[in-house]
Subunit: 145 residues, 3 copies
Amino acid sequence: MEFLKDSSKNTYFIRLEKDENVFRSLEKLAKDEGLTCAHINGIGALKDVELGFYHLDKKEYHRETFTGEYELLTLVGNLSLLDGKPFYHIHTSIGLENFSVKGGHLFDAVVAVTVEIELRALPFEISREMDKGIGLNLLNMCPGH
Amino acid sequence: MEFLKDSSKNTYFIRLEKDENVFRSLEKLAKDEGLTCAHINGIGALKDVELGFYHLDKKEYHRETFTGEYELLTLVGNLSLLDGKPFYHIHTSIGLENFSVKGGHLFDAVVAVTVEIELRALPFEISREMDKGIGLNLLNMCPGH
Amino acid sequence: MEFLKDSSKNTYFIRLEKDENVFRSLEKLAKDEGLTCAHINGIGALKDVELGFYHLDKKEYHRETFTGEYELLTLVGNLSLLDGKPFYHIHTSIGLENFSVKGGHLFDAVVAVTVEIELRALPFEISREMDKGIGLNLLNMCPGH
């Protein structure tokens, strides 16, 4: 990972390298830079992409790992805290050789060629907390309540 | 809807709640906060998603409502004014259980689990006006002309 | 092309007109405004869309041009310099009449109805340089090294 940082605006322009794990690298950035909240948006190429689809009725994810390489069409998400640690919630769509598209909640992925991300740090400290009715860790926007 | 607001940068970090109507909630935010222009970007899960595909030759939208629940892969759009009221132009792609993807112009949608949006307010006042040749309300970037 | 510019934040809200070439218009904007780095995000409708899928093993793109008109679901990318000139790296997903989605690396496209883009200029000067192992022009984040 390499990045340039626009201090005044807290915008990071990030390049992930081939074979880096997307989540591990972004988590390291958050720790190193002391980031607690951010919005991210990127493109590139991914491999070994584990996607999820959430079944609200069963309160569980259907998961599938797509091996091989894909164009990364969209990587959109945010950074918050879960159990005090940086946690990224990311949804992704990937493009196949025949230009069809797959997508879902991103559980894991490795950089296939390069990934170029814009991260904008926000001056918030938001934790995720389990919503038992939904079965997911949702954003707790009012930590004082 | 809950949100945190970064006053100096006019960035809103928004959480929509299960069963909220996406458009009604975002319109209320614009009214309450006095927003006239913004860019939005979000992820989450939607249900009862009405999508459109515009036929320029017929000057009309082909519409279809997708019932059931979907991962919200991308929700990208902007806020402007139409007849003096907040109007959001949004395009969306949604993920199915088999990880295939559907998408189009978003006419309507309800939050299935949660929706997390970053909205960045812009200091412009742009109205949409009917372009009769195209049949759509397009951005009028030069209101003084 | 018409645009409004928020000088203090370097955010451009852009409207591309029917029949404009997406790349030529965005390149002209970069030249006219002296932009060297930016993140872009947009929606609208495109026609004559040339998409690519990169084969890392062959070090070449598989390309296909989709004639006809499409909803532009996502246009995400960045501006950097290549051989000293503005270069946009863009990935796109487009929606068909049946609401299925195609996507890939964007090589070329013409505006079908309108395209609405938010461009945020970043105060960096980043050049792309050929990575022979990968076969693509990747971002050189450390031009001084």
